[in-house]
């Protein structure tokens, strides 16, 4: 019966030809490593966020008097509400980690170079949108941590001389974080960012598919690869079909991601839930040890350390611009990072700096 269904669809839209040409004949270079699958795992993480987010939307109330209690009801009264909420929290943090891993591996393999500059740019925008998701998302529980971490982060634009205060008023919808901030972040998190993310993700995936996967620069078959001269259907010296081989590889990594998610949910359920996250927001009392989430710790610590805050923010903005435009700054042909000691050193220095700043921010 299953065969009959497939035959019927094939008869009408040429399903078999579609699967053959787009999936089976689509080739993947022979020496791809597991980092080539991180992208799709991030997409799966996003889908999980979308589904659990939608379910949470059914019971969450975006009003300062009810937000915290509605989430507590989800955690204790609604059947398996805890399951949905915990997955949303864990997968959110894992998605940020995956985005970072993906970014670093692409950088390491020089896969932002011609012809993949637009892919890198789209990816950079996706990173910023992901961070915007995180920022808007963790105000929503309206806990002590939500309220005060948001107060700190929305204070950052005050460093700009003329437009600073106005920018903060726009962000917060007032002088301080309030119910207006909550609804505005909620509309951002639920209404504006998802379609924006999906469209740019669609562009990103289209570009990857159309240009074709790159050959890892350090692999043996990279030497045999003909140099790129313009758009053409890729021709790898060694390759295997996308379906079913690469799909199996991707599925295996997705399953690993799910295993890690449930590992954290079982044995470290409070990894992302400090005590201040389980206390209702009190605008009159700042908890003693409030810090942003781990992915914001490095920029936060850096701003605390640089004496002139305007300079600090400018440095960060310039860093973001440089990051986005990197393929045009580093436009040479050599992709293998082991042959580029200057870049390797720079990269390692930045990585170490980021890690040091994160730990410093965590323990200061």
């Amino acid at each position: 019966m299953w065969q009959k269904l497939k035959d019927g669809i094939d008869h009408r839209i040429g399903l078999n030809e579609l699967i053959d040409s787009k999936l089976r004949e689509y080739r993947v270079p022979g020496d791809t490593n597991i980092f080539y699958t991180v992208g799709i795992v991030t997409v799966v993480a996003y889908m999980i966020q979308a589904v659990t987010g939608y379910f949470l939307l059914m019971y969450y109330i975006p009003h300062p008097d009810h937000a915290f209690q509605s989430i507590q009801d989800i955690m204790t009264v609604i059947p398996y509400g805890w399951f949905i909420r915990m997955i949303h929290i864990v997968a959110a943090n894992l998605m940020v980690a995956l985005v970072f891993i993906h970014l670093v591996s692409i950088f390491f393999m020089g896969n932002y170079k011609k012809p993949r500059e637009m892919t890198w740019l789209a990816g950079g925008v996706l990173l910023l949108i992901t961070l915007a998701f995180c920022l808007s998302g963790y105000l929503l529980p309206w806990s002590q941590r939500s309220y005060w971490a948001t107060t700190i982060v929305t204070n950052i634009p005050t460093a700009f001389p003329v437009i600073g205060d106005f920018a903060v008023t726009i962000l917060r919808g007032g002088d301080s974080v309030s119910g207006v901030t909550l609804t505005r972040f909620f509309s951002l998190h639920v209404g504006f960012l998802p379609p924006l993310f999906l469209s740019i993700m669609g562009l990103h995936i289209f570009l990857v598919w159309r240009i074709g996967l790159s050959v890892p620069p350090s692999s043996p078959s990279a030497k045999e690869q003909k140099p790129w001269t313009g758009y053409a259907k890729v021709n790898y010296s060694k390759s295997y079909p996308f379906y079913p081989d690469f799909v199996l590889k991707e599925s295996s990594m997705i399953l690993l991601f799910l295993t890690v998610t449930f590992l954290i949910m079982s044995f470290l359920p409070t990894l992302f839930l400090p005590e201040t996250a389980t206390t209702p927001a009190d605008p009159l009392r700042t908890p003693p040890d409030i810090k942003p989430e781990w992915y914001f710790l490095a920029p936060y610590q850096m701003l605390k350390v640089i004496p002139n805050k305007f300079l600090g923010i400018c440095i960060q903005l310039i860093a973001i611009v440089v990051f986005m435009l990197w393929p045009w700054i580093d436009s040479g042909d050599e992709r293998n990072i082991s042959k580029r000691p200057v870049l390797l050193t720079l990269f390692l220095l930045l990585a170490v700096l980021w890690i040091v700043l994160t730990f410093w921010g965590r323990y200061s």
């Binding site: 589904v51 379910f55 059914m58 019971y59 009264v77 609604i78 059947p79 398996y80 509400g81 399951f83 949905i84 399953l255 799910l258």
Partner: protein, 134 residues
């Protein structure tokens, strides 16, 4: 081939079980539990109440007050500050919390002290000699 198809079978069986186990909570989630005490109602006679009576309604200590000139009202006795039970001060026509001197008027609104919000009110109906809450 045999090994591969065996693995395939195991993989699919495990995968289906895993995703099924994930789908089960999603379905259960859609049906919230009925609030247990939704239809709890209590009735009292006017003589029973007198000028005020403390009762327990839906597991919440409550007080029904006969306010002179304004009729009956049912207010929860849980102070909105930290949860102490408030007491009725007949002389001063107000409700006082003995813990930190939070004061409420006979509508349940905060007059003074630390409570952040007014007292919870319960719907009340007067039918002849009978008063029903809920």
């Amino acid at each position: 081939m045999e090994r591969r198809s065996f693995l395939g079978l195991i993989g699919s069986a495990l995968g289906l079980t895993a995703f099924g186990t994930m789908a089960y909570p999603l379905i259960r989630y859609l049906a919230p539990p009925k609030p247990k005490l939704q239809k709890g109602r209590q009735s009292f006679s006017k003589t029973d109440i007198g000028d005020a009576k403390e009762i327990v309604y839906q597991q919440t200590p409550t007080i029904i007050i006969n306010r002179p000139g304004k009729g009956y009202i049912a207010l929860a006795r849980v102070c909105t500050h930290l949860g102490c039970l408030i007491e009725y001060d007949r002389d001063k026509k107000r409700l006082v919390c003995p813990c930190h001197a939070g004061m409420f008027d006979l509508e349940g609104r905060v007059i003074s002290g630390p409570p952040p919000e007014p007292l919870l009110t319960f719907p009340l109906r007067v039918e002849g000699e009978e008063i029903t809450i809920g």
